[in-house]
Amino acid sequence: MTTTRSAPPRARRQPARQRGDRIFAGSARAAGLLIVVVLAGVAAFLVWKSLPAFGAPAAQLPAGKGLWSYIGPLAFGSVLAAVIALVIATPLGVAIALFVNFYAPRRLARALGYVVDLLAAIPSIVYGFWGIVALAPALVPFYGWLADHLGFIPLFAGPASATGRTMLTTGIVLAVMILPIISAISREVFAQSPQLHREAALALGATRWEMIRLAVLPYGRSGIIGGAMLGLGRALGETLAVALVLSISGGVTFNLISNSNPGTIAANIALQFPESSGIQINALIASGLVLFVITLAVNVLARWIVNRRSDFAGANG
């Protein structure tokens, strides 16, 4: 009883809190809550709109064989393209971060960093233009060579595409697009690696590479992994570049250089949506939901890895 009595006076002890304060704090809080609502809304609307597709008879759906056999190959294509991009972009991104942080002439380093960031500023549709008109035709002879000489590897079984609009080309375009993300995050963690460790390594007679291997890379490992996963998230959701570059025929294949390629979820939505109606739209939204769940999982994992490292960094200094 006494405790409940004492509560009101304590609340009244701050009369100086004016109306303006309450309004302002309230609206800031409301904006924060709105973000919660929007995200919940995204999830709720996607689920709600895709429910009809889950219940629909298989014959009405685009592939004609049920929802999962429609989305499955697309999800496979998304993951395949993103993984190719990751395999290409991660070593390059790390090397670029090392170059900007430790190899480039000091005076140029900042400017070169900006130049790499420019890659991130170019709209994805322009990458698509470049991929379909410039890169794909240029890669055709290379694919021919791959099919002739490395055809025994299932990835390069061929027959080589005559247009160059293959899974591998798509992967390369995506790699260029996620390169700035990976290199920016790697650069950040490399710059935070303890200066004293680096100098100590050099003082003990380490070469520059040994210094990097001993003092920088172990420290930056989780940053590299996190950056790569953020890049993976971006590559999974990339739409227009894939829609333009990839020549899609559906199906599941690991053959990277042939004419028949699996589609990706995002590209498929962009290509089909404008002409779709009714249950087809629901099926497309269902595939969007799958993409949302996949990228969500990848991104949360990436953030978790990056943040774990930042806790570690905080403890260190």
């Binding site: 919660v36 500023a121 233009f129 410039a134 520059r208 999974l236 739409t239 993409l291």
Partner: protein, 370 residues
């Protein structure tokens, strides 16, 4: 660093040979018995590269292969010479150095190539007509992207109007007011929101507006909502970073003078951070102005000028470029030219926004001197 025996050596790793040659390789206590000077290293690489390039030229394999041979042979030559003269550790260091340089050069190729392709093909239609006419009743030649340019400006403007207040207030909440579970939750959700694929944001906006306007809805405002989903988290993160930089002493001084918290934020914190906020918002606009996928599913495309975002389809620059390239009609040349010019305009727009962002941060930066 004091180990460098001669003052002429620019850095310790390239100390001049004379003092080193006094000691035979391998017996030196410091392990730098014999080192290549910088000029010698570059020369070795260049010699290898020249042989490689010559090989490429002799076998008539084209520029790309010749350059590839050159880089590979140059690296191998440098590694071999360094291995023989300097030992394994330094050779590895040299190898990694040339790999890192090559990686950077490799990453520059797409950038230069892409800019070259877009500028070369985009210049063909970069004329006054492109900025003043729409595609209304245009069959082959002529026509422009006036409707698409206006559409992009209107939709991006609306997006900014929606996103900036929400984003700024959320950042203020996170930095100034938030605590405990809710703050953590919002922090996490902003991260999650950053990762939403742009096409999914488009689907969300479509589903939302379908409730009110029925199936097949295409509205400019729906596109603005979709873009806002993408832009808000960017604004929040940028604003949060900047607000965190405002020194706490300023806030405390203001409180000590009896200023209420909300006025402190509006009159002290935000003005101090205004340069950073401007930069962050401009970069966020640059991030969404080239987005195509969400507009493709929410706004669609049209050939006529529609300046009302609450009424029907609108044209936007990225979607315009997409359809002009993929559905050029016959003959395709005219539409393809328009597509490239639109792509060029997009790049120019994004680059200009980036430059403006840097200018803002330079011009409006808080004066630090006394």
């Amino acid at each position: 660093m004091s180990a460098a025996p001669t003052p002429t050596a620019p850095t310790p790793t390239v100390s001049a040979p004379p003092p080193a040659s006094r000691q035979p390789a391998g017996t030196s206590p410091i392990g730098r018995a014999r080192t290549l000077s910088r000029a010698a290293a570059i020369g070795t690489f260049a010699a290898g590269a020249a042989v490689g390039a010559l090989l490429g030229w002799a076998t008539r394999s084209g520029v790309v292969l010749a350059v590839t041979y050159g880089v590979v042979l140059g690296t191998v030559a440098l590694y071999g010479v360094s291995r023989a003269l300097e030992g394994r550790r330094r050779a590895t260091d040299r190898l990694v150095t040339s790999l890192v340089y090559s990686a950077f050069a490799l990453a520059m190729i797409p950038l230069v190539w892409l800019l070259e392709a877009v500028i070369r093909q985009g210049l063909a239609r970069l004329d006054a007509q492109f900025f003043t006419e729409s595609l209304f009743a245009v069959v082959n030649k002529g026509g422009g992207a006036y409707h698409a340019i206006m559409g992009t400006l209107i939709i991006t403007g609306l997006t900014t109007l929606i996103s900036v207040p929400i984003g700024l207030l959320t950042a203020i909440y996170l930095v100034e007011y938030g605590h405990g579970r809710l703050r953590q939750a919002i922090n996490l959700l902003v991260d999650v929101m950053t990762g939403i694929p742009s096409i999914v944001a488009g689907l969300f906006a479509y589903a939302l507006f379908e409730i009110f306007f029925g199936p097949g809805v295409r509205l400019g405002i729906a596109g603005a909502v979709a873009l806002s989903v993408l832009m808000i988290p960017v604004v929040v993160r940028a604003a949060e970073e900047v607000l965190k930089l405002v020194p706490n002493e300023l806030r405390e001084a203001s409180y000590a003078l009896g200023v209420p918290k909300w006025r402190t934020i509006l009159k002290v914190v935000v003005p101090t951070a205004v340069a950073g906020l401007g930069t962050g918002i401009t970069l966020a606009i640059a991030r969404v102005v080239g987005e195509t996928a969400p507009l493709l599913v929410t706004v669609g495309i049209t050939a006529v000028t529609n300046l009302n975002p609450f009424d029907g389809r609108m044209a936007t620059l990225p979607v315009f470029a997409y359809y002009q390239l993929t559905r050029p009609g016959v003959p395709p040349q005219y539409a393809t030219d328009r597509a490239w010019t639109a792509a060029l305009l997009l790049i120019v727009l994004v680059m200009a926004l980036n430059v403006v962002a840097r200018l803002i941060s330079r011009l409006f930066a808080p004066k630090t001197g006394r």
